[in-house]
């Protein structure tokens, strides 16, 4: 019974979305088709704002005259835009784009702008009820931004500390992803038996649901029951002299949480790089290697002068993506250290951001924090892509 | 079947003028080949007729009906694309009857038309296959079959043979020629290959840089190319073009440059065009360079040259000659038994001599 109800609920929602798309298409189509008719402007102004009020009024705070006025102004602007700028051209592409565009505007652009709004106001646990009821918030200017750089998003770690940690985290992860991926890809790119079988096994960390993989790996780093410490203990039992060298079981999760997270994430990320690089390696024509053999190149010379330069164009976008993903990776860190009483020794910028919002309920503060992180990432990417383009042009 | 008229067609891509005032009239049942080097605008012209490209300016009529704003499917045309554009997810039969199904034609009629087209093109065995299971030539035939079943007013072919290898291309050329006799339809055929143009066309439209250079039957454009471009484009091997000047001595015009001096008889160059000192280009096809020929009335006086290279083609032979500093190509009957470096005498056939103004590039000879 419950199952039926849930199916009904979801189906109903999908139909609603479909209806919404149909209405949107119809609305825009009328503008494309009739924008130049003399009757269209008054008709549109009379009909559409009223319809919008009827549909959205309840959602957006009552069927008020003010709301109708907003819709009227919006419709006037849209109709004027179609009349003077669009003029009925490019109907098909715009109509095909419209649903995705509206979806993105509502669920990506609007939240983004809302985040900006939040960052200049003060929304926290004490003000959220008034905001819920009245929709107003105290304006605080750039206070939140000042706080980002002066106070800690968690209980002690500062912004600058987090930034440093994030850079170390990102760099070490990406470095080992690429290195590991490259080595594995080179090994797989040979004519050996069971190649497909090895490849299948090697992509398992990527293929497993991340939540399962991370939680399972976290178990392996447990101080007494984890695989890592068990192996260390067994080694110590067999080779007692190792203890003299300082080898001992490690309290991974409490003493070295960041290292643990990094190890887990390296394990998770190598397969993706391996697959991408393997694709690049396989696309290199073997005649280059034949030519190099005739010229008398050694294995490492071939690697240096043929493989690396030819794989580079395939690798660069993957490395860019990988960098952004690693920088933004909350999952691993939160799943390893995020439970109640968890440590903050492993937090990087984005996980601190998540915790500031949802563990400490400092909403506006975290909004300002998020915008600062976004700005950093954005400028890094622009700079990086520019230099990549420049390198492309040189070739 | 129908007539097609292009009236002052202009096409711009941004600031780039692709077609500059194209005027062509195509009569009912005519096989017209539009030929020109790549980038001359010939494919653009065809696509505008099909309705796949917007018309910047000018008018296109099919059967005296203005089609500028008409959707491609309403123009009653069928098109064969360069890459065949067979729908990869449909069988040969579905590919062929797609247009008819779209028009909600009765099933019986569809089946009859597909069978008829399949018979003509010998495709009966392949109707249930997917395009990727066919060879290049078979795909080509399916593409043509897809056009035939529509019974359109005009057939458009966009470089249909350019993806086939040389041997298959010859076969398909003959098939298309046979098909034309059978269908007796209006066909507009675009190609960059002048051999296809010469062999298939009822009339040839030669284009360059977005301008129609000459319209005429194959024999016309071959015998009387109206300008330097057409002269150089049509005919294989290419026409010899010699730059020089005219001088008038005692009422006789003489062509001269550093390497040779040649009197031009009055039946080649009319009096009114012969001006002293006029810069001209003299064109003569390799076939009309007569080597070791007894000479005669229609032939120039002997010219002494040196044989540089011989190329045996089988029944003919290409001779690369040098007269002074001027290179000349002559095509003669095989076997021309001389070793390179030996001296040969040759003369030029006045009957097929072409003279062009160097500045305007227009033909000035008869």
């Amino acid at each position: 019974m419950e199952t039926l109800k849930s199916i009904y609920e979801v189906t109903w929602f999908i139909l609603l979305v479909a209806a919404g798309v149909a209405v949107l298409i119809g609305y825009l189509y009328s503008h494309f088709k009739f924008y130049s008719r003399s009757w269209f402007f008054p008709a549109a102004l009379a009909a559409f704002p009223l319809l919008a009020l009827a549909v959205f009024g309840g959602l957006l705070g009552g069927y008020t005259f003010k709301l109708w006025l907003y819709f009227l102004l919006a419709e006037a602007a849209i109709a004027a835009f179609f009349r003077s700028v669009v003029k009925g051209r490019h109907t098909v592409p715009y109509l095909m784009l419209a649903p995705a565009f509206v979806g993105l505007a509502l669920l990506l652009v609007y939240p983004f702008i809302f985040e900006v709004y939040l960052s200049f106001h003060d929304l926290k646990l004490t003000t959220i009820m008034t905001w819920k009821n009245t929709g107003t918030l105290p304006f605080v200017g750039i206070d939140q931004y000042v706080k980002v750089f002066t106070t800690s998003p968690l209980s002690e770690t500062t912004f600058w500390h987090l930034l440093l940690r994030t850079l170390v985290w990102t760099f070490s992860n990406v470095f080992f992803h690429v290195l590991g991926g490259f080595i594995l890809a080179l090994m797989l790119n040979n004519h050996i038996k069971f190649k497909g079988f090895y490849r299948t096994l090697l992509v398992i960390p990527w293929a497993m649901p991340q939540v399962v993989a991370v939680l399972a790996m976290r178990g392996e780093f447990h101080s007494t029951n984890g695989f890592v410490n068990i192996v260390i203990n067994k080694l110590l039992a067999v080779f007692p002299f190792l203890a003299g060298l300082g080898v001992a079981p490690v309290q991974w999760l409490t003493d070295y949480p960041l290292l643990t997270c990094t190890l887990i994430n390296i394990w998770l990320g190598i397969p993706f790089m391996m697959v991408v690089i393997l694709g690049g390696l396989q696309s290199i024509s073997s005649s280059y290697y034949d030519a190099a053999d005739i010229d008398g190149a050694s294995y490492f010379q071939k690697l240096r002068f043929i493989t690396l330069p030819l794989v580079r164009p395939v690798m660069m976008p993957a490395v860019t993506l990988g960098t952004v993903w690693t920088f933004n990776n909350i999952n691993v860190i939160y799943l390893v250290t995020g439970q109640a009483g968890g440590t903050e020794q492993a937090d990087i910028l984005v996980s601190a951001l998540y915790k500031a919002a949802f563990t400490y309920n400092r909403y506006s503060y975290s909004a300002a924090f998020a915008l600062v992180v976004f700005a950093m990432l954005f400028f890094f990417s622009v700079f990086y892509l520019k230099s990549f383009d420049a390198a492309k042009d040189e070739r | 079947m129908a007539t097609v008229q292009f009236k002052k067609i202009i096409k711009k891509f941004g600031d780039n003028l692709v077609l500059n005032g194209v005027d062509v009239d195509i009569k009912d049942h005519e096989f017209v080949v539009i030929v020109g080097p790549s980038g001359c605008g010939k494919t653009t012209l065809l696509r505008m007729l099909a309705g796949l490209e917007e018309i910047t300016d000018g008018e296109i009529f099919i059967d005296n009906l203005l089609v500028n704003e008409l959707h491609p499917s309403k123009r009653e045309i069928a098109m064969v694309f360069q890459d065949y554009a067979l729908y990869p997810h449909m069988t040969v039969e579905e590919n062929m009857n797609f247009a008819l199904r779209l028009r909600k034609m009765p099933k019986k009629e569809i089946a009859a038309r597909v069978t008829e087209a399949a018979n003509i093109l010998q495709l009966n065995k392949f109707l249930k296959r997917m395009p990727k299971q066919l060879s290049g030539g078979q795909r080509q035939r399916v593409a043509i079959g897809r056009a035939i079943v529509r019974k359109p007013k005009v057939f458009l072919f966009d470089e249909p043979l350019s993806n086939l290898d040389a041997k298959l291309r010859e076969e398909m050329r003959v098939e298309i020629a046979k098909l034309y006799q059978r269908l007796n339809a209006t066909i507009i055929y675009v190609t960059h290959d002048q051999v296809e143009a010469m062999t298939l066309a009822g009339r040839i439209v030669i284009m360059n840089h977005g301008i129609v250079q000459q319209v005429g039957s194959p024999i016309e454009v071959y015998r009387k190319p109206c300008n330097l471009f057409v002269a150089g484009f049509i005919g294989s091997p290419t026409m010899n073009l010699l730059s020089g000047r005219l001088s008038i001595a005692d009422g006789v015009s003489v062509f001269f440059n550093e390497s040779l001096t040649l009197p031009i008889p009055a039946f080649v160059l009319p009096q009114k065009e012969a001006r002293d000192g006029r810069e001209v280009v003299l064109g003569i096809r390799p076939d009309d360079v007569l080597v070791e020929h007894p000479g005669g009335e229609k032939c120039s006086s002997k010219i002494e040259g040196v044989l540089e290279v011989c190329e045996l083609l089988g029944h003919r032979e290409n001779l690369y000659l040098k007269v002074g500093g001027q290179r000349l190509l002559a095509t003669v009957e095989a076997f021309f038994n001389r070793s390179p470096g030996s001296a040969v005498s040759l003369c030029l056939n006045y009957q097929n001599m072409h003279i062009f103004d160097k500045v305007t590039e227009r033909r000035i000879s008869e």
Partner: protein, 284 residues
């Protein structure tokens, strides 16, 4: 000559031996954690915590599985995840398929800006939009519901899906649609009858991508869902794995049940998935 050949062959054999050893080690490192979960899931209740490293433990039993299915709402969690994921993937792929077509085939003002916006949306930190989405869902009174989750997920993979699909559409020759236009379809008809059927591989990739993203999502679910009846499996498993060591067996059993089908689908489709990823990312 013969002697030299055998030397080369010997070296090749040695190389291959080394390669196999290396690959086996790496492969073991990749598979072993999964096998450990499997092993834990089979342990009897009193031996959950053990230093044992063998894969099939002594006294292996299925008790964890029966307890998981009987005592917890695991099936309900799976069902919740499935519904939410299917709905978001369906909405996401439908929206992406047409938008990508517009980007691939038409020239229109705003195209370049749109493409840049799509790319830069990838720079938005994952945690950043959770807060406003959470507040929006709260305002719409959709907390703790399927709809709230679907709304929060539906566009998250949209930019990437559009990118993948555009890359694929770009490889379909334009002449196919032109032939369809001449044959009598409209522009939209050509898309529907020619392009969509031809793009099934790319559409499946996009669907799979949407599916895995939503299926494995944890952070948004953590914030939007609070009653265990509405949990997705990620929340449920995290809860199980939590503090009580006694539930380890059930966590492991649940992990196996979730992982096996996902792994099968992934390995089955990995060839397309990878070509799709490179298509989307390498171009541009």
């Amino acid at each position: 000559m013969k002697k030299k050949m055998s030397a080369a062959a010997k070296r090749k054999r040695l190389n291959h031996l080394l390669l196999h050893t290396g690959l086996i080690l790496f492969a073991a490192a990749c598979v072993y954690p999964l096998l450990r979960i499997f092993s834990v899931s089979l342990r009897p209740g009193d031996k959950l915590v053990s230093m044992d490293l063998s894969i099939i433990p002594a006294g292996a039993t299925l008790i964890s599985y029966t307890k998981l299915l009987g005592d917890t709402m695991f099936l309900r969690w799976l069902w919740n995840s499935l519904l939410i994921t299917l709905a978001t993937s369906f909405i996401g792929v439908s929206l992406a398929s047409t938008a990508a077509y517009a980007f691939s085939r038409f020239r229109f003002p705003g195209k370049k800006v749109g493409m840049i916006l799509l790319l830069s949306s990838q720079m938005i930190p994952a945690g950043m939009l959770i807060l406003p989405l959470f507040l929006m869902i709260m305002k719409l009174k959709l907390m703790n519901t399927y709809l709230g989750m679907i709304i929060a997920y539906s566009v998250s993979s949209l930019p990437f899906s559009i990118w993948i699909l555009k890359g694929y559409y770009d490889t379909i020759p334009r002449s196919l649609e032109e032939a369809a236009l001449v044959d009598g379809t409209s522009q939209v008809g050509a898309f529907w009858r020619i392009i969509l059927p031809l793009s099934t591989p790319a559409l499946s990739i996009a669907f799979l991508f949407n599916f895995t993203t939503a299926w494995n999502e944890y952070l948004v679910a953590r914030v939007v869902l609070f009653s265990s009846k509405q949990y997705t499996w990620t929340l449920g498993l995290f809860e199980l794995q939590g503090q009580y060591i006694t539930q380890w067996g059930m966590f492991a059993a649940g992990s196996m049940l979730v992982t096996i089908p996902v792994l099968c689908v992934f390995l089955y489709s990995s060839k397309w998935l990878i070509s799709g990823l490179t298509l989307g990312s390498v171009k541009g």
